[in-house]
């Protein structure tokens, strides 16, 4: 058993490479997603089987459009953070790890952006 204090054990080991930001961002997006995702599921249940015009009317409401954009931002941010942790934990080979991280992180940003742009296009269309 070491008699060192926790501080002296950590001293000199260098940076942990990453602070609390990742952890905090994952929790904040999780908290935001609880009401937003329940609201979204209720919305798409109402839209199921309805024509395109009903969806357009829903998205063109300023509140719906805003909540949708918040949902998509939180969702794809949360997804990028979560996939990153899973890959870092389970993929050992450095090359494969970096490749998968690049694909999932860039992919999350691209999908998220395309989804948000789609909402904006519907919201501002005629």
């Amino acid at each position: 058993m070491s008699m060192n204090t926790p501080l002296s054990k950590a001293r000199g080991l260098g940076s942990a490479k990453e602070g609390a930001h990742h952890w905090k961002a994952q929790r904040l997006t999780a908290i935001a997603l609880v009401p937003l995702s329940i609201w979204f599921i209720s919305g798409i249940i109402c839209l199921a089987g309805k024509p395109h015009a009903d969806l357009v009317a829903w998205v063109q409401n300023p509140w719906s459009a805003s909540l949708l954009i918040l949902l998509l931002f939180s969702l794809f941010y949360h997804m990028a953070l979560g996939l990153q942790v899973v890959i870092e934990d389970y993929v050992q080979a450095t090359g494969m790890k970096i490749t998968l991280l690049l694909i999932t992180q860039f992919g999350s940003i691209l999908l998220g952006l395309a989804s948000i742009v789609s909402v904006l296009l519907i919201a501002t269309g005629d």
Binding site: R27, H52, L55, M79, L111, V117, S118
Partner: protein, 130 residues
């Protein structure tokens, strides 16, 4: 301590995961599954922005038996990840760490996610989705 008595991590191929362990890994698996599901979500939104015709095409796929199975699995993964995510948030706040609590909430998560999934589909199908 002799080298024979050192604690070992569980050998996953011979170690029967307790319910809490199964739920724990399922949180990650449903997270990855839901990430794949966002491809459908993005496709649906992009089609909706493209126009009525492509929106109808995507909805036709989602309404097919294969689409419905995907949506059903997706909805269960969603409710499971949601309920267990709330359980994780309570842990982050330092609550519910006792062994009895952890097992009780593990069962509650399972029951809640099954009930919410079924309830959602009953409402959706009764509301005119076909």
């Amino acid at each position: 301590m002799s080298s024979q008595n050192r604690p070992l991590s569980p050998h996953l191929d011979v170690y029967k995961l307790p319910l809490t362990g199964i739920i724990s890994i399922s949180h990650r698996m449903t997270g990855v599954g839901l990430s794949v599901g966002t491809l459908l979500l993005a496709w649906w939104l992009i089609a909706a922005a493209t126009g009525a015709e492509s929106y109808t095409t995507v909805n036709g796929f989602l309404g097919s038996w294969f689409g419905k199975i995907l949506l059903f699995l997706w909805s269960f993964a969603f409710f499971f990840h949601l309920c267990n995510g709330i359980r994780h948030l309570f842990w982050d706040a330092g609550k519910g760490f006792d062994k009895a609590d952890v097992e009780k909430t593990a069962k509650a998560v399972l029951i809640a996610s099954v009930v919410l999934t079924l309830l959602t589909w009953v409402i959706a199908l009764a509301g005119g989705a076909s």
